[in-house]
């Protein structure tokens, strides 16, 4: 199986540790991972803010970069949902039928990390060790667009040493929403404040999610308030082993 990593522009630029964790994890599970250098961005920021004209070249770029792979794995549920839900429609609306056909063929092979592990590789115990108290925030796009369900939690429950605690009001949005956090910063900050309150009620030392965009948002408030809670991407917990600690 020829597996490609779709890192996403945000992870590539700001959170390289998450990408390294995906590579380490998949290698450990016996799979080579390729990083197609032509990849850049899925176009979600442009599309969701109303700039469709600027999003289309990114749809085309994605189809070019990932052509020929059996599976495209991404550590971002939000970008994965953009590709799976919207790339086919944007390509169809563009009137370029060759592009539409290529996108149609490619997008079913795009998997969010937990989907790839559970559905394609058929594993829930990835041999990880993470001796910390952790709470998990199911991000909106992972739940309501990709419908990953409890896959991330099944993976986390199998991690040795972990003390996984339930997050109250877990399904409530953290208020990130891309440019929403800037355009409606007051409402966004109010949503984030409630999420932070719920995270702190758990007594966890780390907040986990399948998207660094949401974690960047909640983590920004956790850091500002000196909460003593850090954020960690799902991939980084799953990549951790006992050997890492020695």
């Amino acid at each position: 199986m020829k597996v490609a990593l779709f890192i996403t522009c945000l992870n590539d630029t700001m959170f390289p540790g998450t990408g390294k964790a995906v590579v380490r994890l998949l290698n450990r599970l016996g799979h080579e991972v390729d990083f197609p250098q032509a990849q850049t961005c899925c176009g979600q920021m442009h599309f969701n803010t109303g700039y469709r004209r600027q999003a289309l070249p990114l749809v085309r770029g994605f189809a070019d970069a990932f052509a020929g792979y059996d599976a495209v794995v991404t550590p971002s549920a939000s970008c994965g949902a953009m590709v799976r839900d919207w790339h086919p429609r944007l390509a169809a609306d563009s009137g370029d039928r060759a592009l539409a056909a290529r996108v149609q063929a490619l997008t079913p092979k795009v998997y969010e990390l937990s989907e790839f592990l559970v559905d394609v590789l058929g594993v829930t115990d990835v041999g990880a060790y993470f001796p910390h108290r952790v709470t998990y925030h199911p991000t909106c796009h992972s739940m309501r667009m990709l419908h990953v369900g409890d896959r991330p939690l099944r993976l986390l429950r199998a991690v040795r040493g972990i003390d996984l605690v339930e997050l109250p009001e877990a399904a409530e949005c953290c208020g990130f929403g891309g440019t929403f956090a800037l355009k409606n910063s007051e409402v966004s900050a109010a949503m984030c404040a409630d999420k932070v309150t719920n995270v702190r009620r758990t007594g966890a030392e780390a907040l986990c999610a399948a998207d660094n965009s949401c974690l960047m948002h909640i983590g920004g408030a956790l850091s500002r308030t000196r909460s003593g809670v850090r954020t960690v991407h799902l991939a980084e917990i799953l990549a951790s082993t006992e050997e890492d600690r020695t």
Partner: protein, 487 residues
């Protein structure tokens, strides 16, 4: 239909002219501690109860799909069903009027009331008459409209605006309500307390006098059954039944999208609506009437069919699904933005997620508030999940954002940033260059990996949240250096 295509010009909601953009209005609401507390309590309670009521039905998904299909079928054949409805209502002794916009509808209703010689009307809660500002139009003509729904009465007596479709006074608590009654209700009992039972009793006595003296009533319509010409109103207090049966003249105003083909279709919505809105298995008071019945109920019945931007909305292939809405308000109750911004920030009688897609469509994306509404969402999708007729609200929001951007003019800085970002991201080489620049500047902007303050519009982020400092090298740079095998 007579409204034709020229209704594509923005319809108007007279009482909502000059509303501020959503973020400005929301800022005030976010700082209102009492409002925040009332809303959080009310929406979380109704949200939990709705989830329980929906979970009781194992065929909810099928009902929801049926609701969606029936509404879509009607919208695709609206001209046919409207003519059928007109024919059946007329056959049953009613009179049908066609209004292309708010002004026309208000004129029709005002003229009908004037013809009776009355100067007071009782009203059963109606979104359509709020949309057109009917009470204000009647007041200009010297006619007083009395709202008879308890929450609408509170809003009206408080000289206020509704902030929720189903619970219009959700922003008020019982202490507020007692103060309003004491101040404005001439027949309020001395020493009225803030107990809900006493408040309800005071309102009941106040309203009973209105019902018994009123000669004219105005209502909205929840559903119109086309093949029999029957109109249906759902309410919870019995005030609607009073209004619909006691007066001599009844005038009902309905949006043209409120039709169902037959009684069999109505069955679907009589399950979907109560469970989604009030979390009830069955609606408490469901009134249905067909034209006039001599010796029983009003002897004069008028139906006003309102377009007011609806045919323009129908013309939009993506946006038209908003016309499926049955005004249950489930989307408001699950919306994290509504729970914090409150209903007034939406600048329309239609607040919350449905308002954010309905108002800019029926009024047009022109004003400050209407061009900001499509952005009043984090696109979390909770509304779509809760909607009993499967309106994909996030899809329509994003669609309307694209229309707002096409219209241009606003946000030149944002446009420039989006252009530069698009140009950078189109090329892996340019992206890598930008990443190297970010990494080089990491010690300038951040300390201990965190940025406390960003300039310009980005300060909206760092006002309340730290931002991460860029890493030493991007993932791409690491891969190139190590081939994906290094540290």
């Amino acid at each position: 239909m007579s409204s034709g295509t020229d209704s594509g010009t923005a319809a108007r909601m007279p009482t909502y002219l000059g509303m501020p953009a959503f973020p400005d209005a929301a800022r005030r609401a976010v700082g209102d501690t009492r409002l925040r507390r009332n809303l959080a309590h009310a929406t979380s309670t109704i949200r939990r109860r709705r989830a329980e009521a929906v979970a009781e039905l194992d065929d909810w998904a099928a009902l929801r799909e049926a609701g969606r299909q029936i509404k879509d079928h009607v919208l695709a054949n609206l001209g046919h069903y409207l003519r059928l409805l007109e024919e059946k209502v007329t056959e049953a002794g009613g009179t049908v009027h066609w209004a292309r916009d708010a002004a026309e509808a208000n004129r029709i209703v005002t003229d009908l009331v004037r013809a009776t010689g009355e100067t007071e009307v009782v009203k059963v809660k109606s979104m359509a008459t709020q949309e057109i500002g009917l009470n204000e139009a009647l007041a200009e003509a010297g006619i007083t409209a009395h709202e008879t729904d308890l929450a609408e009465l509170i809003v009206q007596l408080g000289d206020d605006r509704p902030s929720h479709i189903l619970v219009p006074a959700i922003h008020r608590n019982r202490a507020d309500i007692r103060d309003i009654f004491r101040r404005t209700m001439p027949d309020a009992p001395a020493g009225l307390s803030d107990s809900p039972a006493e408040l309800a009793e005071a309102a009941r006595r106040h309203l009973r006098a209105k019902f018994l003296s009123a000669k004219v009533a105005v209502s909205g319509v929840n559903f119109a059954v086309a093949d029999t010409g029957t109109l249906v109103v759902l309410e919870s207090e019995g005030n609607g039944r009073m209004c619909l049966t006691l007066p001599e003249t009844l005038i009902s105003v309905m949006g043209i999208e409120k039709i169902v083909p037959s009684w069999r279709d109505l069955e679907v919505f009589l399950q979907l609506l109560p469970r989604s809105s009030t979390a009830e298995r069955m609606n408490p008071y469901t009134s249905a009437w067909t034209g006039i019945t001599p010796g029983d109920g009003p002897s004069d019945f008028h139906l006003v069919l309102l377009d007011n931007g609806r045919t323009a909305t129908l013309a939009d292939e993506v946006g038209r699904q908003a016309l499926r809405c049955i005004r249950c308000s489930a989307c408001l109750n699950v919306c994290p933005v509504y729970a914090r911004a409150g209903g007034h920030a939406y600048g329309s009688p239609y607040p919350g997620p449905i308002g954010a897609i309905l108002s800019p469509q029926i009024r047009g994306i022109g004003s400050d508030v209407d061009s900001s509404l499509p952005y009043a969402s984090s696109l979390c999708g909770a509304c779509f999940e809760a909607c009993p007729v499967a309106i994909d609200i996030p899809e329509v929001l994003v669609h309307l954002r694209a229309r707002a951007v096409e219209k241009g003019r606003k946000h030149p800085l944002e446009r420039a940033v989006m252009d530069v970002a698009g140009w950078t991201l189109r090329s892996p080489a340019r992206l890598a260059l930008a990443q190297r620049a970010a990494s080089a500047g990491r010690h300038v902007v951040g300390r201990r990996g965190r940025i406390r303050r960003l300039p310009g519009p980005l300060s909206a982020w760092t006002d309340t949240r730290d931002a991460p400092a860029p890493p030493e090298e991007s993932f791409r740079a690491w891969w190139n250096r190590t081939g994906g095998k290094g540290e």
